[in-house]
């Protein structure tokens, strides 16, 4: 049996060995505070600058536009905070019904504080109706926050068009790019995006490091106050080893970007193979506009947690949008927003690949899954 087939890369990724290697000296010998005056500190400062350039390069941004944070959630919180603090007269926010909790719950917080929030619905493919979006935009809108790619289905949103539409109304546009980073080219020199969130651990850097891009001419107010780090935009002594790791991960992502085509082919093979081998299965999301690494498949009349546990027995790591695994008693908010029928929503499994995924691993999954679904369907009272 294979020791482990890790197909949950939208949850977190393996730390690239090159990243660990780049970080190690900053845990041992290069421990100086980068703000210190002596050359020992200056060397660390120099490494930080290089890392900032590496991160900026992945997004075709300026190094000055990069603010290091502790995680994607902090970046999202900061984007809302800054947009609201710099435009106190505006009282409206727009987001989507299928955002990550890091955006949804921040929007809900501001709603309780008296802001009105529009949560754009999606159709059965997970797509946004741009006419509806256009109607929602008003001069009173302080921020639009729309994810670049959905974490559960991989569906891509037309953020370029949406950002332009926001700008026509003089509205700031933020995107949570946590899932797309490193998988598709995001060119901020061209895209009219004002703020963008990134999380290190989704692109083979460790957990505990994030980034917020803030475009040069965009007004900013810090979320975390204190020292002058990050040019006064995010206080707290720099998390040097992790920033170095993020820089390395970004330069590796650039180097390996072309391999995403290979990842996409493996994903397609997995998906086609499962759809052929397992009757009454369907793909959730917009298959024509999707991340190359993500496949969200629903198996009718079986329950996701049971599938995951059986997959775990044969070394396969995946996740599910079923009620039992969503931490609530209802299936995932994304699948519900898409109107996926209950008979399918409870039986959804997300496989998310990475550049480390191999053909042999996909073959292993294709070998194991049909039998598991058959076993559980034999137990289920629902047969059709």
């Amino acid at each position: 049996m294979m020791e482990r087939v890790y197909l949950d890369n939208n949850a977190t990724t393996a730390i690239a060995p090159e990243v660990t290697e780049a970080m190690l000296p900053f845990f041992t010998s290069s421990y100086a505070n980068p703000s210190s005056m002596y050359s020992f500190g200056g060397e660390v400062q120099h490494s930080l600058t290089k890392a900032r350039e590496e991160v900026a390069a992945l997004f075709h941004a300026e190094p000055d536009e990069i603010i290091f944070t502790s995680c994607g959630s902090e970046s999202d919180n900061t984007a809302f905070w800054s947009a609201i603090a710099t435009q106190p007269e505006k009282r409206h926010l727009i987001t989507t019904a299928v955002e990550h909790p890091a955006v949804l719950n921040v929007a809900a917080y501001w709603e309780r504080e008296g802001y009105s929030v529009t949560r754009l619905p999606v159709d059965s493919f997970g797509r946004i109706d741009l006419d509806e979006y256009k109607r929602a935009l008003t001069p009173d809108t302080a921020l639009v926050s729309v994810m670049f790619a959905n974490n559960e289905t991989g569906t891509l949103f037309p953020v370029e068009e949406m950002a332009s539409m926001a700008h026509e109304m003089g509205v700031l546009f933020h995107t949570d790019a946590v899932q797309i980073a490193g998988k598709k080219d995001v060119d901020l020199s061209r895209l009219p995006i004002d703020m963008l969130s990134l999380s290190g651990h989704k692109l083979h850097a460790p957990k505990g490091i994030g980034m917020l891009f803030v475009r040069k001419n965009v007004l900013f107010r810090p979320f975390m106050r204190g020292g002058h780090q990050e040019k006064g935009r995010r206080a707290g002594t720099e998390n040097v080893p992790y920033i170095i790791g993020l820089g390395k991960a970004c330069s590796l992502a650039m180097k390996h970007m072309h391999e995403e085509e290979k990842v996409g082919k493996l994903r397609d093979r997995l998906e086609q193979g499962l759809l052929e081998a397992v009757p009454r299965a369907r793909v959730n999301g917009d298959v024509d506009h999707r991340l190359p690494n993500t496949s969200n498949i629903s198996f009718k009349n079986v329950e996701g947690e049971a599938i995951l546990l059986m997959l775990d027995r044969v070394g396969i790591c995946a996740s599910s949008g079923s009620a039992c695994t969503s931490g609530s008693l209802e299936p995932s908010h994304v699948l519900r927003a898409m109107g996926v029928p209950f008979s399918y929503a409870h039986g959804s499994v997300r496989f998310s690949l990475s550049r480390y995924t191999t053909e042999a691993e996909i073959a292993h999954v294709l070998k194991e899954v049909p039998g598991i679904i058959e076993t559980l369907r034999a137990l289920s009272p629902f047969k059709d």
Binding site: E303, E305, A306, F382
Partner: protein
């Protein structure tokens, strides 16, 4: 850097001793060699090499073998490595008396020094106990929060599938709810459950609950089967995670529904039929809620959600559940004089409760002793105790008040 098989096999051998050689039991070298696929002769050499450490005792004769002389937590990996592998860093400049001529000027000495230091420091933090704990954790970690029994019943369910000759079928749950159970029974003319089968849609605990339910009820009379509660299912599974308790309730309800079906009554769970709908998302009635509160001694809305799912989706009915719960708790405390523990009492209720418990505590207060309530200031309750052993009485009274009345109360002694 390659570590020899001496070290690798040696660690495996010692881990086996630590795992199996508890309570002075010896472990035979031959059995370890066989199980681990190591040549017995080679393992003997390794054991011989370990002798100077003084951590092994050998016992001869039949049933002989080796055991650990020292607690696993006292066996440091560093010592094992040095013993089996030789000096970890055979560099001239790191020896106790450095003999490298470049020592004063070498720009790399710091590197070798810090490299060696870090490896040694790491090895010092690891003992045989660390390895033992990790191994045990690995063996004990069944999936997620589930017990071994849940795990076994999920992977190898008993009595799975419908019965061709069933004369009673009970169904609860639905696809929309995320779990459903159809229970099939073959009940004899004498009213004994001869066979049971189930079909379940749901998570591991739902499947395991169904499986264990069939084990419990086969061979039971219908009358006895009606006394089976969700607690029996939970007990047989060695416990369920809190948020999965509703799976056991589903089993109990399906059983009732099947028996009602056999008796020619409407095949819905009794409590669902007679009650008023409270949770619209999951279709849970007040009668069902009251029943789980009573049978399981529930005291919070979250617990009701864990057991019935009610209030777990839109949350609109949570206030209503809280009202039902409050009414039940009130009833419970007036019925028995000792209600379940409540979390937030009003000052008046707290005062009355403490007075009642003090009055009922003649088993704690010996003859001639008395406890009088002096003051209630939020959760700080002051009493005066007339006794030679104020402290002991105070702490026993406090713990009784905490279990019977309110868990955060602080009992103070005052004059």
């Amino acid at each position: 850097m390659r570590f020899s098989t001496r070290t690798r096999y040696g660690l495996r051998f010692l881990l086996r001793l630590a795992l199996e050689g508890q309570e002075k039991k010896t472990v035979s070298l031959a059995s370890v060699a066989r199980d681990e696929g190591i040549s017995p002769g080679y393992l003997e050499q390794i054991v011989h090499a370990l002798k100077p450490l003084g951590i092994l005792a050998a016992e001869r004769g039949s049933g002989g073998g080796y055991r650990l002389l020292v607690e696993p937590r006292c066996i440091r990996l560093e010592d094992l490595f040095v013993c089996l592998e030789g000096p970890l860093f055979a560099l001239d400049c790191l020896a106790e008396q450095p003999c490298c001529e470049r020592l004063g000027t070498c720009g790399l000495h710091w590197f070798w020094f810090s490299f060696a230091l870090q490896i040694r420091c790491y090895l010092r933090t690891i003992t045989l106990q660390t390895l033992l704990d990790a191994q045990r954790h690995r063996e004990e970690t069944v999936m997620w929060d589930y017990t071994k029994a849940v795990h076994d019943h999920f992977l190898h369910p008993h009595n799975a599938g419908p019965l061709a000759d069933a004369n009673a079928v009970g169904e609860v749950g639905s696809l929309a709810c995320g779990d459903a159970l159809r229970l099939h029974l073959k009940i004899s003319d004498e009213g004994v459950i001869e066979k049971a089968g189930f079909e379940t849609f749901g998570c591991a605990s739902a499947i395991a609950s169904s499986s264990v339910l069939t084990d419990i009820i086969i061979g039971m009379s219908v009358e006895d089967a009606l006394k089976v509660t969700n607690n029996d299912i939970v007990a047989k599974l060695g416990g369920l995670p809190r948020e999965k308790m509703h799976c056991s309730v589903m089993g109990q309800e399906a059983l009732e529904a099947a028996i009602r079906n056999w008796r020619g009554e409407a095949p819905v769970p009794h409590a669902q039929e007679i009650g008023r709908l409270v949770c619209k998302c999951f279709g849970v009635t007040d009668a069902q809620i009251i029943r789980v509160i009573r049978e399981n001694g529930l005291t919070s809305v979250d617990e009701v959600t864990d057991y019935t799912k009610a209030g777990g989706a839109c949350g609109e009915c949570r206030n209503e559940i809280a009202e039902i719960l409050a009414a039940e708790l009130k009833k419970g405390s007036s019925d028995t004089g000792k209600g379940a523990v409540r979390k937030h009492l009003t000052n008046v209720a707290r005062m009355q409760g403490v007075t009642r418990i003090l009055g009922e505590s003649s088993d704690i207060l010996k003859e001639g002793e008395k406890a009088t309530l002096l003051d209630v200031d939020g959760l700080r309750v002051t009493v005066h105790i007339e006794s030679g052993e104020k402290k002991e009485r105070l702490s026993r009274l406090e713990s009784r008040i905490r279990t019977q009345l309110e868990e955060d109360i602080v009992l103070l002694e005052g004059e």
